[in-house]
């Protein structure tokens, strides 16, 4: 179960829930905060790098982190978009990057919001 997910970012994946259960009640809140912080850090570096003239090295670095992070917590659509954007950055393919930008941005910001809702004090539990 991944809680409220109107945008379908997690699909049917229970990976985040499973990870938090495995971490245990003491570590889970800290882990969730760290996942949120890492996603925010990626977004803050990746999203400004995406529009033309494209900071390709930065896009490669941040999508590399995003591939792992999104995949690990079960956000598989974003994981796939990150892989595609990483490939586009390697190929310096401007049109492909432009096409991927809107869905990637929407899913990344949506994921940050979803994880944020689960942080202590927001009342949503994993």
């Amino acid at each position: 179960m991944t809680g409220h997910d109107p945008t379908g970012i997690f699909g049917t994946s229970t990976a985040l829930h499973d990870i938090l259960v495995l971490a245990g009640p003491e570590t889970a809140p800290r882990l969730l905060q760290q996942i949120h912080a890492d996603l925010v850090a990626v977004a803050s570096l990746l999203l400004p790098a995406l529009p033309p003239p494209h900071d390709w090295p930065q896009i490669r670095r941040q999508t590399h982190v995003l591939i792992s992070l999104a995949g690990t917590i079960g956000a598989m659509r974003l994981h796939g978009l990150a892989i595609e954007m990483n490939t586009a950055a390697h190929d310096q393919d401007c049109s492909r990057a432009a096409a991927l930008l809107p869905p990637l941005e929407a899913d990344l910001t949506g994921l940050i919001a979803l994880v944020g809702l689960r942080l202590p004090g927001h009342g949503v539990v994993a």
């Binding site: 495995l22 245990g24 800290r30 590399h64 792992s68």
Partner: protein, 493 residues
């Protein structure tokens, strides 16, 4: 009286710079009972490596302060016995392959599931505990003659028999490679070196060069030597049976499936699966093999659930695998997954005087088997052997010597005692008549309009005719393995 406690196991060292991922991996490992020391940078990781004496390291290849591959090499230089499991994101598999070639134990592509993650760690820990190198171990299969690869049954319908223990004093298979040429010395060193990792080994070489023996050596020098060694010839099993042979089937899943059968991948659990003639594998099965390599699970034909297995893959071909990729016969992603540590078996003609050592070793062995006494090779035979191109490689030498021993009572082996095909060998094959510019067009005109397969057949048949039907000679001219030529000829019948 007190009992001496075994020394404490050093912690696993986890080097990962994304803090949340580091926490996730740490949770999984500690939950499974492992002690973990974490580091978020290369500098911190190297310091922890020196302090803790870690023998198993989980290393993210993309680190902020240093290339992970470079760090791995420094760690392996400090403690070569360390098992480094490299972890990287999808999109950087080439980097992981490079790491495997540089001595990594295993690689994991993020995101990975908990079972695969823990399986890799446990294999690495088991490998450390087993120690290495181990020079003599039990094995499932061994070649019967020096350098002679055990023929793989052409229609192996059932999984191979259970392991047959070998006398503990039997030398390891790498010592079964006869020959003191520099190339073979380098090859044996390489086998010992790659054996300790989980890396997939891709063996190439002409027919008869000892590819299966090489695969067996990799298995027997590896930490999983006490497990099974299962060999499967992908080119010899009908394509419609191959999936069942590799992955097994459940009773009733198709006509003729009268009982459950585990398949080679499950039979090799805990050991090594050797896939010979890998480039002959049908495309549909290549997809399944790729999935198997990515997930370490097998799903027998007709089964509803996959099963986790722990198998090291060694594969071989006598073709150029990259050429098979270019021609669209072999999946590129599977190629990169398998072609991690390439080993090329040199043809006998490039091994100098090894041919004499092999022939003499085989002569002594076969003579003992047949109860005859031979006094070695005459200088004329030695000179002839050095001159011959040996298109069938070691296997051909063994056949020639077997023929000599069977057909003669004993004594010094002279040219008269050799089978005709060798004794009459004129040396390098005569060149085909050159077709100059003027003559080439009429010759080509006769071929234009014919399908490529027919052109190939015409050329092969003409070449065979030129060499009086000698497949080895025709194969040499056509730069094909004789086995490939035999297969093509069989296909025309």
């Amino acid at each position: 009286m007190t009992t001496a406690a075994s020394p404490p196991q050093p912690p696993l060292l986890l080097i990962e710079d994304t803090p949340s991922l580091q926490m996730v991996y740490r949770s999984v490992l500690t939950h499974a009972g492992h002690a973990v020391r974490s580091a978020g940078s290369a500098a911190e990781g190297l310091s922890a490596f020196r302090d803790t004496g870690a023998t198993v390291v989980l290393l993210d290849l993309m680190l902020p302060d240093r290339d992970g591959l470079d760090l791995m090499q420094e760690m392996l230089a400090l403690r070569p016995e360390t098992a480094v499991i490299v972890i990287t994101a999808n999109g950087s598999i080439n980097k992981a392959v490079e790491a495997m070639r540089a001595g990594a134990y295993e690689f994991l592509v993020k995101p990975f599931d908990e079972t695969r993650f823990l399986g890799a760690v446990e294999n690495a820990l088991a490998g450390r505990a087993a120690g290495r190198p181990r020079l003599a171990r039990p094995a499932t299969r061994r070649p019967g003659t020096p350098e002679a690869p055990r023929p793989i049954p052409r229609s192996e319908a059932a999984p191979p028999p259970p392991p047959a223990p070998i006398n503990a004093t039997t030398p390891g298979p790498a010592t079964a490679f006869v020959g003191s040429s520099e190339r073979m010395a380098r090859l044996q060193g390489m086998i010992r070196s790659v054996a300790r990792s989980m890396a997939t080994v891709f063996i190439t070489g002409e027919s008869g060069t000892g590819k299966e023996l090489c695969a067996l050596a990799v298995h027997e020098y590896s930490p999983r030597a006490s497990g099974p060694f299962i060999a499967l010839n992908c080119g010899a099993i009908p394509q419609d049976l191959l999936e069942s042979e590799v992955f097994g089937h459940v009773k009733g899943s198709f006509t003729g499936a009268i009982s459950d059968k585990p398949g080679a991948a499950a039979a090799a659990d805990g050991g090594t699966l050797f896939l010979d003639e890998i480039c002959e594998m049908a495309p549909a099965l290549q997809t399944k093999l790729l999935r198997f390599l990515q997930t370490s699970t097998v799903q027998p034909v007709g089964a509803t659930r996959p099963r986790k297995v722990n198998v090291r893959i060694v594969c071989a071909t006598n073709q150029d695998p990259l050429d098979a990729v270019r021609r669209g016969h072999f999946r590129e992603d599977l190629y990169y997954r398998l072609y991690v540590v390439p080993i090329h078996m040199p043809p006998l003609r490039d091994r100098g005087d090894d041919v004499i050592e092999i022939a003499e070793t085989a002569l002594a062995r076969f003579a003992a088997e047949e109860g005859r006494r031979f006094d070695g090779l005459s200088p004329e035979v030695e000179a002839l052997f050095r001159r011959l191109p040996w298109p069938g490689n070691v296997r051909q030498v063994l056949n020639v010597i077997r023929h000599v021993v069977v057909m003669n009572e004993g004594g010094l082996v002279t040219p008269e005692m050799l089978p005709d095909i060798v004794a009459d060998e004129p040396g390098p094959a005569p060149p085909l008549p050159a077709i100059d510019g003027q003559d080439r067009e009429p010759a080509l005109d006769a071929l234009i309009g014919k399908p490529l397969a027919e052109i190939e057949r015409l050329v092969i048949e003409a070449t065979l005719k030129r060499f009086d039907g000698s497949v080895p000679k025709a194969a040499r001219i056509l730069e094909l393995a004789p086995s490939t030529l035999y297969r093509k000829i069989d296909g025309w019948k």
